[in-house]
């Protein structure tokens, strides 16, 4: 314990590894900058990287974008979609996973069907979803939901099945009812895996939302669902169509930040929900 603490104290912000990290990111940015400008600087276009706008240009673009309300509208729209789909996946996935973990019969009936549907990538559901749901918004929400749903269910089942049987025996010997056991043992003991599933799930959700927005917004010549949609995925697709490559990268960075923030928030909530895990 004490040893670990000392070691951790040594490796905080001022430590060597912090500066090494800074140095490596700096080298990466310089490399990128020089690579992007290789045509102008050396007269030779480096493969691949010369096609990407330089970080300085992207930064300028970002400064312009953050002052543009329509950019924030796109970000908000995507965030809302992520939130909706993610929430729906939690609301449906957690009880379903728990039910599958608790009842052997229910598990026997549903799990094989679940396992057959799981390997189908969520984005393959996009056209079917558009056919089925009356509005575009609902169909994106459904695909987003699918993205997080499978991960959450699998984690809930895994977490609930891994509970030490002695906890149940202890609870029974102290006179707990089945309902008590469910609420006071199964639920909290599964919480860490729910948190893990949610953190992974929200990452997938962002990926799915972005792709769904691209597919429904642009796609192969605007194939699926017309040009409506919006959101950050649509924003980068639109920037591509419009030939504004700095906007593409700026959009990607925004998506990266948004995704990172979402999982950071979930990790925080998870820590708060499972205080007994945070002694390390």
């Amino acid at each position: 314990m004490a040893k670990a603490f000392v070691l951790r104290a040594m490796s905080t912000v001022g430590g060597d590894d912090f500066w090494r990290g800074i140095a490596s990111i700096a080298v990466f940015l310089i490399f990128w900058e020089v690579g992007s400008r290789s045509q102008a600087l050396f007269g030779i276009a480096f493969p691949w990287i010369s096609q990407i706008p330089a970080p300085s240009a992207v930064l300028q673009e970002l400064v312009v974008l953050v002052q543009d309300p329509s950019f924030w509208m796109s970000a908000l729209l995507s965030t809302l979609r992520v939130f909706e789909g993610f929430l729906a996946a939690m609301v449906v996935g957690i009880p379903l996973g728990l039910a599958m973990a608790v009842s052997r019969t229910f598990y026997g009936i549903t799990f094989p069907v679940f396992e057959v549907l799981r390997p189908i990538p969520p984005l393959a559901w996009v056209p079917a979803s558009i056919i089925f749901w009356p509005t575009q918004e609902l169909s994106i929400a459904f695909v987003t939901f699918l993205g997080a749903f499978f991960t959450i269910v699998i984690n809930v089942i895994g977490g609930a099945q891994a509970i030490d049987v002695r906890y149940f025996q202890a609870a029974r010997s102290m006179g707990s009812s089945t309902w008590d056991i469910f609420c006071r043992i199964i639920l909290p003991a599964t919480l860490p895996s729910i948190v893990v599933g949610a953190t992974v799930g929200v990452g997938i959700t962002w990926a799915v939302v972005v792709a769904a927005e691209m597919i429904s917004g642009g796609g192969s010549a605007g194939s699926v669902g017309g040009a409506a949609g919006g959101g950050l995925g649509f924003f980068i697709w639109n920037s591509y169509v419009g030939g504004s490559y700095t906007q593409i990268v700026a959009g990607m960075i925004s998506i990266g930040i948004a995704g990172y923030l979402s999982s950071a928030v979930l990790r925080k909530i998870g820590k708060w929900l499972t205080p007994w895990l945070s002694q390390y």
Binding site: M1, V6, L7, A9
Partner: protein
């Protein structure tokens, strides 16, 4: 013990050569974790000898710093000051705070460290093959002999994960002996075993010792185990670790389990139990977490 192949060692109750090796001298060793001001003193001016060709058992409460000492001898950790010698050769000292790990001092770990991805015989032959001392065929032949000799015939091509933990510990000791080490460093090797298996393992270890006369440095928190096995028992204080009491156990070797009921054994237990208990209470009060 039938006719041995040339590569095998000659075993007898009395070693062929009277020259004993593997004596360790720990002289004024200090180990501080972290910086010297904010650090944690784990080993405090520790001085004692591990006589060659004998079993020295170090007893102390969990987390007292005895493993730190073992790690310093093995070369896994540095020391902060002091000297450690192996057969009058400096292992680590002020100019070279961390010893180089090597096959003359082999550790048998608390939870066992047989490589689960190698079969038992691959584990046993690991040392000589890695060091390039023996060809594969030679190493396998020697390993087969040594395993058979230790009652481990027929499991050469099983994986450690298929064996009981007692067998795994025995394989691990054979793996160490394959390298003809000067000293075996055992870090609470039987901690995870049930007491029945443990008693079998103790006898097995003593037998290995009688055959090889390899110096053994044994760490435990079990006083009975310490007195039963050791020529010398070093009782440590709780953190920081320092010898509190050093006893030479004059119960004659070879020993077996009948020793446990003798009067002399009880006398040693009585003499030491209070000291060990006192340190255990201190450790408990300090709230040292088991690890």
């Amino acid at each position: 013990m039938s006719a041995q192949p040339a590569t095998a060692r000659s075993y007898s109750a009395v070693p062929a050569q009277p020259l004993r090796k593997g004596g360790v001298r720990i002289a004024d060793v200090v180990k501080v974790y972290g910086t010297s001001e904010a650090g944690i003193l784990a080993v405090d001016h520790c001085t004692f000898d591990v006589p060659p060709g004998e079993i020295t058992v170090v007893v102390g409460p969990s987390g007292c710093g005895k493993t730190t000492l073992l790690n310093a001898i093995a070369g896994f950790h540095s020391i902060s000051s002091g000297n450690i010698y192996l057969d009058d050769e400096l292992l680590c000292g002020p100019r070279k705070l961390k010893a180089q790990p090597g096959p003359d001092r082999i550790v048998v770990f608390q939870n066992g460290a047989l490589f689960p991805w190698k079969t038992n015989i691959e584990n046993v032959t690991f040392g000589p093959i890695m060091q390039g001392l023996l060809s594969r065929a030679e190493a396998y032949e020697k390993a087969r002999d040594m395993m058979a000799d230790a009652g481990l015939r027929g499991i050469e091509h099983n994986y450690p994960g298929e064996m009981s933990s007692g067998v795994r510990r025995r394989v691990e000791i054979v793996r160490a002996l394959m390298n003809d080490p000067k000293i075996l460093l055992l870090d609470e090797p039987y901690r995870a075993l049930d007491s029945l298996t443990k008693s079998v393992m103790h006898e097995a270890l003593l037998e290995v010792f009688y055959k090889n006369r390899v110096t053994i440095f044994f760490i435990t928190h079990d006083l009975e185990e310490a007195i039963f096995l050791g020529h010398r028992v070093v009782i440590m204080t709780t953190r920081p670790c320092r010898p509190k009491k050093i006893l030479d156990i004059d119960i004659p070797h070879p020993r077996d389990y009948s020793v446990l009921t003798t009067k002399r054994f009880r006398e040693f237990m009585d003499e030491t139990a209070a000291a060990v208990h006192e340190e255990a209470l201190k450790a408990f009060a300090a709230g040292e977490k088991e690890r």
